[in-house]
Structures are given as C-alpha cells and as structure tokens.
Amino acid sequence: MSTSTLNAQTKGYCLSVAITSVASALLVIAKESNEGLLKFMKTVTVHHWVTHGIFNLVLFVALGMLLAKSNNGQGPAMDDDKLINVTVAGFLLGCAIVAGFMLIEG
C-alpha cells in the first residue's frame, strides 16, 4: 500500500523524468555509435541535437500523461521516498551515462 502525499501529475512526471533521462542518454550512445541513425536524425530537423530534444520532449510528455492516469488516475503506486529516490537516481544515471560515454569515446 503506497502512502504518497503527492498528486498524480507529480508522480507521473517524476517517473517520466527518470525514464526519459536514461532513454535520452541511451539515444546519445546509439546515435554516436550508429552513423545511419545520426544521419537520419539530421534529416528529421536542422540538427540531430534538435531532433534529440524533440524526441525527449515527446517522450517526457507522453509518459508523464500516461503514468499520471495509471492506477485509476492516482498515478504510480509508490510512496514519496521511493519516488524521490527513483527520480534523482534516474536523472543522475542519465547524466553519468552521457559523461561516461563521452569520457571513453570523446
């Protein structure tokens, strides 16, 4: 039984930040390792980085909306401390993956 004091929108978008941060970092590795993907992302908009930003924004909004509506509109069944841990860890993991990859491959 979750004992969250946070509203559904907050819970949904917190998890969305965590998931999108990691997904964004994995997309960095994928596009930097795959010339075809990088070229494709360059053709979608004026710059692969712009395409990357749009991908992140769409994923963030879509996941946030879906997760906020989950669990009969109450948002993910998770207590506050666990949600905070997942949000912070997801964001930091995303940053660490990007920095680590650039340190090795840059």
Partner: protein
C-alpha cells in the same frame, strides 16, 4: 551579435540557478504565506531554463561549427569532445527536471513533507548541475581561446 547571444545564454543560465536557489530556501520555510511565491518562482525557473535552452540552442546550431573546428585543431580538444558533448546532452535532461519544478509546486508544500523533500532535491540538482553547465561553458570558451592563441616561442 554572436557574442551577445552567447552572453545572453550565460546570463539566463545564471538567473535560472539563482531562481532555483531562491525556491530551495523558500521551500525550507514553506508556509501559507509564501506558497504562491514558491509556485511563481518555480514557473520562473522553468521559463528561464527554457529561454536558456532556446538561446543557447540557436547559437549552438547556427554559430558553433566554426568554433568547434578551431577547438579541434587546438590543444584543448577535450573542451569540445568531452565538455561540449556532455553539456549539450545533459542539458536536455536538465530541461525536463526544470519543467518538473512547477508541477511539484502544485502540491500543498505546507502539509506534504514528501513534496517539500522532492522540491529540495530537484532544486539542489538544478543548482549543482547548472553550475556544472556554467563551468563547462567556460572551459569550452577557453578551448576556443587557446586554439586561437599564437604558439609560444613561435
């Protein structure tokens, strides 16, 4: 004009860090009296972060290529290959974290300990990673500068 855009990017970046620090302190003292101010300032943090993104993004997409070419010919290649590459991609996640702030502020921060704790974590990350972005920007600028300096003894 190009340098003015870059300076504006740094300025709005510093302002978002200051505003996030303000929200952190106000959240420590959350009460009915400052709840609306926290919500307004949270929206300001997100707004400044998006402004920083659009200004910096415009400069990066339109003007950075020649500077990158200089950096890659100079002694501080890492200022692009590590610092710029990391900064441009971590910023995308930071933008989402900043967007989360006004959403968290819709909770009742006076009664919800969890909401206050979440606000404190998010503003702390915004300030610390924001300072990291600022430092990375300075290193990238220095990378271009040392690439353009005459070789010592030459």
């Amino acid at each position: 004009m190009t340098l003015a855009i870059l300076l504006l990017h740094a300025l709005t970046g510093m302002l978002f860090i200051l505003a996030a620090g303000f929200v952190f302190v106000d959240t420590l003292n959350a009460s009915a009296a400052n709840l609306e101010r926290i919500r307004t300032m949270s929206r300001l943090v997100a707004g400044l972060l998006w402004l920083t993104y659009f200004i910096g993004g415009y400069w990066y997409v339109v003007n950075y290529a020649p500077e990158k070419a200089f950096i890659m010919k100079g002694p501080w290649k890492f200022s692009h290959s590590f610092f710029m590459e990391t900064k441009e991609h971590v910023f995308l996640a930071l933008l989402l974290l900043g967007t989360l702030l006004p959403i968290i502020a819709t909770n009742d921060l006076v009664t919800s300990k969890g909401a206050r704790k979440l606000m404190l974590w998010v503003t702390t990350l915004l300030v610390l990673v924001g300072f990291g972005m600022d430092g990375a920007g300075a290193i990238i600028s220095l990378g271009a500068k040392v690439a353009l300096l005459p070789v010592a003894g030459g």
